[in-house]
């Protein structure tokens, strides 16, 4: 009966209805919350627990942070000002910031390490960001000498002459490298050593030329020491790590085993034992009467430590290259050093960059261990002179919080860079 379509419809809509807004629960913040916070019973419980945790942390930390005392001369002053209220005693930071950052560096020379620190960004920029002009790399090459001059002071001739040595060595190398890589390399090294030897006499003649006040490396401390150790050791360990990685891949058994033993030994022991070696044992193994700076001994040890780890990262990069690349190099008639320099290493290093950055972050964090062997880095300063002083005995949270924050800012920055770089590198693979 009624299964016939009705032909006598009185009204037919001629325009479409405007779409009605989605239900409240499906839009905006509510939808987002439903999907992201309360999608299931378990999720809701987790959300509530999460919010509670955040509230707990904030309710403890905020009054302490906001109510902090920034101006007092001692912890007793602080307590008096706070008068029982919750609040941090950040005055220790304002009073002792120079020790925390610079250690015992002469106060009127703070501009020197600061300038060196700022220049470091300019020096690293062309290495870190490949789209910058290649000419900037020249400054990167000059930077170590500038930084040495700024931080340690002394006559300007010292860094200049050592730079000249490198330059002469390089020129000799480019002249001779056509004949063979080995000739060029050893010729360059010989030329550089000759220049330094002669340079030694020049410096003996006039050691005050444009001299900045010389600073004992023992006086370098605080966060600056962490930075210097991190940067120097990493830069030196990078080439060393490449050599070790190549050595480990070498077909020559003796060289291979030397590298394997070195790498596995260093990676097998904690850094702290290596620092003990630097501190209490190394002196026995040097010629009688030699006296290394502690900071130099520590640098050598940390560099060896980092080099072993970097070698493993780069070995991974080398292993990841298809065999065809090696064979391609051979079939072009390139010798070992040429095929490594021109074909293998550029690709292997590119793959290894994220791993190297991870090692760098780890290394930078590990520089705090020097506090255990009585060097006054940031942690050493906190545990030593500041907490031992009558004025600030007992201010723990503020000092360690500050130290943690400083490290966090630097390490997080580096790891963010590494992730950015990983994304950059990914685009050309996919």
């Amino acid at each position: 009966m009624s299964d016939k379509p009705a032909h006598n419809v009185a009204f037919v809509r001629e325009t479409t209805l405007p779409p009605s807004p989605p239900p409240v629960a499906e839009t905006g913040a509510i939808k987002w919350m439903r999907e992201n916070l309360f999608s299931s019973a378990f999720n809701s419980i987790m959300t509530i627990l999460g919010v509670l945790a955040v509230y707990q942390i904030l309710s403890l930390a905020l009054p302490w942070l906001l109510n902090g005392v920034w101006n007092a001369s001692s912890i007793r002053d602080c307590r008096e000002i706070l008068d029982g209220a919750t609040g941090g005693c950040f005055a220790v930071l304002t009073e002792r910031w120079h020790q925390l950052v610079f250690g015992r560096y002469p106060q009127d020379s703070y501009w020197r390490p600061t300038l060196a620190f700022l220049l470091m960004f300019a020096a690293f920029a062309p290495v870190l960001f490949s789209n910058l002009p290649k000419k900037m790399l020249i400054f990167t090459g000059l930077y170590p000498f500038i930084a040495y001059y700024l931080v340690w002071g002394g006559s300007v001739l010292v860094p200049i002459l050592s730079l000249v040595g490198f330059a002469v060595g390089y020129v000799v190398y480019t002249r001779l490298v056509d004949r063979s890589f080995a000739t060029g390399f050893f010729g360059g090294v010989a030329a550089a050593i000759a220049v330094w030897y002669i340079g030694g006499f020049i410096i003996n003649e006039d050691s005050t030329f444009l001299a900045l006040e010389q600073v004992e490396s023992r006086d370098i401390g605080g966060f600056m020491l962490n930075l210097i150790l991190g940067v120097v050791c990493l830069s030196v360990s990078l080439p060393l790590g490449i050599v070790l990685a190549l050595g480990r891949q070498s077909r020559m058994p003796i060289i291979k085993w030397i590298c394997v033993v070195f790498i596995e030994f260093i990676r097998g022991v904690p850094l702290i034992t290596l620092l003990f070696v630097a501190n209490v044992v190394l002196a026995y193994f040097l010629p009688p009467g030699t006296n290394f700076d502690l900071i130099l001994r520590v640098m050598i040890m940390i560099t060896m430590f980092a080099a072993a780890y970097i070698a493993e990262v780069i070995r991974g990069g080398l292993a990841a290259l298809p065999r065809g690349q090696y064979e391609a190099g051979d079939s072009l008639g390139l010798d070992y050093s040429q095929s490594m320099r021109l074909i293998i290493l550029p690709q292997a290093l590119k793959i290894s960059i994220p791993g190297i950055v991870n090692v760098a972050v780890g290394l930078f964090k590990d520089t705090t261990l020097v506090s255990v062997i009585s060097m006054f880095d940031l942690v050493g300063m906190v545990r030593g002179p500041i907490l031992a002083s009558t004025d600030w005995n007992g201010v723990y949270w503020e000092l360690f919080g500050f130290a943690a924050l400083l490290f966090f800012v630097f390490c997080y920055g580096i790891s963010q860079y590494s992730q950015w770089l990983e994304r950059q590198l990914q685009t050309d693979h996919r």
Binding site: V158, G200, N204, G289, N291, I295, N393
Partner: protein, 338 residues
């Protein structure tokens, strides 16, 4: 030396290599600086202040030696050392002398091959406890938790004391004095043990020093003194007699205030020999005639050093006690300058 500075530039930090001459004195003079190993931070004895100047009782010994040898009390490089690193630093020649409240013991002198040149502070190991614990003697400490600073003789003394009294205890080894104090203040240990002088120095930094008692037992003898390497007796003599000069000066009434005046000559021949107007003692040491006068002008005599850094008018407030002159019932007894 300068050539090695250039090498240092290459290795970034500066390799201070140099042919070692046989004599520490020549080394120090050539360097123009005395390398002195000190504590990393013990208020009153050796601690850097807010301006990074080292201050303290042990520091003044370094300054006195530097003044005697080089004529300049500030020509000292202070090398802060922990309990662990101090002996290797000295053995390896990193420092010329160690002035770091170090106990003179047989094994350190004989087995580790060091030469203690004298005693600048007669100390003993004691205990500090909160008053509310109600302990009056260290023998009541059965089962107590005891904080100790590692790397010192105190650990061995402590073990011996509790063992000989057959009472048990729980040691909590802590690396630095500051951290040990924090543990004590928070109640994580019942008592803290270290040299009695250190206890007094630490108590001075507490909020309510009156709430703390130093127990009467002194469980060890701790003659603290500066030391040098075995084998260079000339250098050992210099440090020994600089220390003796400080002690003798107090006995003879020479102070930093009157040393200049007395240096012009006095009626007392021993003062004259001490200050170099008679006898040529300085030359025998290989130093200037006015070596002791230089030292005394800078630091004052032993009594002045004591009063300035750890005496009763300082926050540390130590009495002279055993460290008084022998004429006053103490143990300080400088051999004659003759």
């Amino acid at each position: 030396m300068k050539k090695s500075m250039l090498l240092g530039a290459l290795t970034v930090a500066g390799l201070a290599a140099g042919a070692a001459s046989a004599s520490t004195l020549e080394d120090v003079k050539a360097r123009g600086e005395l390398n002195c190993g000190v504590n990393t931070g013990l208020v009153g004895f050796a601690a850097p202040d807010a301006n990074n100047n080292w201050q303290g009782f042990d520091i003044d010994i370094c300054r006195a030696v530097a003044a005697a040898v080089l004529g300049d009390p500030d020509a000292v490089k202070y090398v802060p050392l922990t309990g662990k690193t101090r002996f290797t630093a000295l053995a390896a020649g990193e420092i010329d002398m160690l002035s770091r409240n170090t106990t003179w013991t047989f094994s350190r002198d004989v087995d580790l091959k060091f030469e203690f040149v004298g005693v600048n502070y007669y100390d003993g190991q004691g205990f500090i406890a909160p008053r509310e614990l109600g302990v009056t003697s260290a023998k009541d400490l059965d089962g107590a938790t005891v904080c100790i600073q590692t790397g010192t003789t105190t650990e061995l003394n402590l073990a011996d004391f509790f063992r000989s009294n057959s009472i048990s205890y729980e040691p909590v080894p802590i690396e630095t004095n500051a951290e040990a104090l924090q543990q004590l203040l928070a109640g994580a240990c019942d008592v803290y043990t270290t040299d009695a002088s250190g206890l007094a120095a630490s108590r001075a930094t507490f909020e309510n020093p009156g709430d703390w008692v130093i127990l009467p037992e002194i469980i060890s003898k701790e003659p603290l003194g500066p030391l040098v390497r075995h084998g260079d007796n000339d250098w050992g003599d210099i440090v020994r007699w600089t220390l003796n000069a400080l002690v003798a000066a107090e006995e003879l009434g020479v102070t930093s205030a009157n040393v200049a005046e007395l240096s012009n000559g006095t009626d007392n021949p021993e003062v004259n020999r001490l200050l170099g107007t008679e006898g040529g003692l300085g030359e025998m040491l290989g130093l200037d005639a006015d070596w002791a006068a230089n030292a005394l002008a800078v630091t004052g005599n032993y009594g002045e050093i004591f009063e300035r850094h750890i005496g009763e008018n300082t926050p540390i407030g130590l009495a002279r006690g055993l460290n008084a002159q022998w004429t006053e019932g103490g143990l300080l007894y400088a051999p004659p300058f003759r």
